[in-house]
């Protein structure tokens, strides 16, 4: 596989977009950079083995807990689908618990809440965005963020940026278009909505779809909480796979802006630039990993950078002012691309699209990484991430229809045909600035 030729001479500057929090964890990512790296040193590699349980909180409802708890003023805010808890961080005692009666939607997981001032924001599986009083969980307002009848659902942790609550949509069963919406925190009124896919001919990106029907059902869910650079006033949102994902015949083209990292103006929701991590994805690799904001130096010049290790097995480093690619490097052994375009986007190998008799593809369906976020340590100059190496699957094209739709995947009784062999879960580290 062709590697990129640019190997810049790099040094990392200490300058940071914002100082990471030390007495709170006020957003899903900890701050707006997506670095998730605490400068606190009280717990370290010398004493971690001596940690003992201080308290245990039994949620008692809600299924699996897949959220990052926020901590504000010594109180933890924890979620599960339909449930929010406020817990005293000192002793694990419940302060309040709010359980919402549901109208349905997929209860696969909830990533957490957003907090602004005295108010908390939360997405439910049945497509509501709800604002609660931080003190007692009482409800202030709720709005419809998506349509349950179209099999959308809510799972993302809302983001608070410039007096806006930013919420994405989940759901990839019925070939629906993804979008990102900004709401007024006080009233819940919509301030802007950005559609991931073009909705009509002539819209930006529409040249990468065969027709309006395909783009309007083109997917691109916004599962992941964005990151934000206040100096550039840009929100960085990453987008999910196109639909129908396995049965791809009727959506020839790159299918913008699915599988992308996109910069949006925080005030208007208008796109400023995009970079596509997976063009015309056929493997169900949502590119919704965390876009981590890093400040560094390249060739002696300070640079504003964005790093993302994608589910498709490639690591990308971009200039976050304009989206220009600096590094594209495989971090597992992806076999689905036949080269790298000048833009830095891997070129899909048609032989590794789903085949009737099967194509052996790596990474597997879950990807080289997935939604669990990485961290960036400025001191170590390393991106640390959980990844899965050496996993493969056989991807069968299983639909005989000339009008493909849906996920196109049968739940196999025997999992081997789609499952992994010998995959190791790794914590790996990478210098963010070199391939």
């Amino acid at each position: 596989m062709k590697r990129i030729a640019i190997v810049p001479v790099l040094a990392l500057a200490a300058a940071l977009v914002a100082q990471p929090p030390t007495t709170s964890w006020p957003t899903y990512h900890g701050d707006n950079t997506g670095r998730r790296f605490s400068p606190l040193t009280g717990i370290n590699d010398k004493n971690i083995s001596g940690l003992a349980t201080a308290w245990t909180f039994r949620a008692g409802a809600g299924g699996s807990l897949k959220s990052t708890p926020l901590m504000v003023d010594g109180i933890l805010y924890l979620t599960a689908p339909d449930h929010v808890w406020a817990i005293d961080a000192r002793n694990g005692k419940e302060i309040w618990h709010k359980a919402f009666e549901t109208k349905g939607g997929w209860h696969i997981g909830n990533r957490g809440v957003g907090i602004s001032g005295n108010w908390l924001f939360f997405l439910t599986p049945d497509c509501q965005i709800i604002s609660l009083n931080l003190k007692d969980g009482s409800e202030r307002w709720r709005k419809q963020n998506c349509d349950l009848d179209q099999f959308y659902y809510g799972s993302m942790a809302p983001m608070i940026v410039k007096n806006k609550v930013i919420a994405g949509v989940s759901g990839d069963d019925l070939d629906r278009p993804g979008y990102l919406t900004a709401y007024d925190p006080e009233t819940g009124d919509q301030k802007w909505r950005w559609s991931v896919v073009p909705l009509k001919k002539g819209d930006a990106g529409s040249e990468t779809w065969p027709n309006e029907e395909a783009m309007r059902h083109g997917g691109g869910m916004t599962w992941q909480m964005p990151t934000y650079d206040p100096d550039l006033n840009l929100i960085y949102i990453t987008t999910g796979n196109p639909q129908p994902v396995i049965a791809h015949a009727n959506r020839k083209g790159d299918n913008l802006f699915t599988g992308c990292i996109v910069a949006l103006n925080a005030d208007t929701g208008k796109m400023v630039w995009y970079f596509q991590a997976s063009a015309h994805d056929t493997h169900d690799w949502d590119s919704t990993q965390v876009p981590v904001l890093i400040d560094g130096q390249i060739d002696g010049r300070p640079r504003k950078l964005l790093a993302m290790a994608a589910r498709n097995g490639y690591y990308f480093l971009l200039d976050r002012t304009n989206g220009k690619n600096i590094v594209t490097a495989p971090y597992t052994k992806p076999n689905w691309a036949k080269g790298i375009r000048p833009s830095g986007t891997p070129e899909p190998d048609p032989a590794k699209h789903p085949q009737v008799d099967g194509a052996l593809v790596t990474p597997n369906q879950g990807g080289a990484t997935n939604w669990p976020p990485p961290t960036f340590s400025p001191a170590d100059r390393a991106v640390l991430r959980g990844s899965v190496a050496g996993v493969q699957r056989v991807l069968h094209f299983r639909s005989g229809s000339r009008q493909p739709a849906g996920l196109g995947r049968h739940r196999s009784r025997r999992r081997e045909s789609e499952f992994v062999g010998g995959g190791d879960r790794l914590q790996d580290r990478q210098d963010p600035l070199v391939p």
Partner: protein, 345 residues
């Protein structure tokens, strides 16, 4: 999270409509009341009943309401515990139907008999324009993507739509369709919608046998080194008759039974742990992470260690050769191997 999964068989009911009797006659045949132990909220009971209906149980709309009221009143969550076990939600639905995880609770639940009646109406009136799978043709819209269809419940939006007049292939006015005919159509179309969801049985592997058996045999005995451990006349004798091609392909590529870690198969991953001062122990991993490692040895005794640089841990992986091959196979090798293995009858 404690998972307590109680299945309710809601069978066809004849006779009394007294709530307790409905429960007794319908559910208690398979699920005596004392076994219905997990309290559920009304929405959760709704979901459970939907699930049973999805699995093929037949129950009228009236009986569903009676059961829902009865179960909610009788098996509500306790005052202290909040909403009860949610273990089943988000799990894989039972039976052979598609996974309806994303659906609204008040979704249209398909009655297969009604859907079959609806198919007759479909073939007579709709199929020419909207196609066999309702995904549209050049002459008519894709209905599984239609918002009106997705909002419909048992004809609620289709009846008024067709009453206004819509071209039908027989020339008959659409307003002349009876409510029952439209409801049947609705069942048929919703069945097509659910057919596109993950887990639908319409997505089946098709022809996997595209390889060359002779080339596969040569690879088996040559570059693939399969014959180092396996023999076409020994352990693999008759394997082509024991498994269908998709299963066989899965087995030689990913031989671990039960997925990651190799549980469930005959052969298991073991670890050999050698402390700095002490004898080596070998066993099946119980805990194996960055901090701790423990194994259960042949006698069933568990040996636990804190991981350190001084503690040597060696993986003995019976499937290591298969794993290595995954980086070696071309797709052609894989197809040739399958073509060869199916000949071992």
């Amino acid at each position: 999270m404690r998972t307590m999964w109680v299945c309710l068989a809601v069978a066809a009911l004849a006779g009394a409509q007294e709530p307790a009797s409905v429960f007794q006659n319908v559910c208690a045949k398979c699920h005596p009341p004392e076994a219905v132990v997990t309290p559920r909220s009304r929405t959760e009971w709704q979901e459970t009943i939907n699930k049973m209906v999805d699995m093929g149980a037949k129950v009228s709309a009236e009986e569903r309401t009676i059961l829902l009221d009865y179960l909610t009143a009788t098996y509500a969550p306790g005052a202290a515990g909040g909403p009860g076990g949610r273990g089943g939600r988000g799990g894989r639905g039972g039976g052979g139907g598609p996974t309806l995880n994303g659906a609204p609770l008040d979704r249209h639940v398909v009655d297969p008999d009604a859907a079959n009646r609806g198919r007759t109406v479909w073939v007579a009136q709709c199929i020419e324009c909207h196609g066999t799978t309702a995904r549209g043709t050049d002459k008519g819209k894709n209905l599984i993507q239609s918002d009106m269809v997705l909002r419909d419940r048992y004809g609620s939006t289709l009846v008024p739509f067709l009453a206004k007049g819509h071209p039908m292939q027989s020339g008959r006015p659409s307003a002349s369709l009876s409510k029952t005919e439209v409801a049947d159509l609705s069942h048929f179309i919703h069945e097509r919608v659910y057919d596109t969801l993950r887990g639908s049985s319409i997505f089946q592997p098709q022809n996997l046998l595209t390889g060359n058996a002779k080339a596969g045999e040569a690879w088996f005995n040559g570059a693939g080194k399969c014959s180092t451990c396996h023999s076409a006349t020994g352990d693999l004798k008759g394997i082509g008759g024991r498994f269908d091609p998709p299963t066989l392909q899965g087995r030689f590529l990913f031989p671990r039974g039960g997925g990651r870690g190799g549980r469930g198969g005959g052969k298991q991953l073991t670890l050999t742990i050698t402390p700095a001062n002490g004898a080596a122990v070998t066993g099946v991993p119980v805990v194996f992470d960055d901090f701790d490692v423990s194994v259960r040895d042949e006698k069933g005794e568990v040996h636990a260690f804190t991981r350190s640089a001084q503690l040597k841990v060696v993986r003995n992986d019976p499937f290591a050769m298969h794993d290595q091959l995954l980086d070696v196979y071309t797709d052609k090798n894989m197809h040739d191997m399958l073509a060869y293995l199916v000949t071992l009858k």
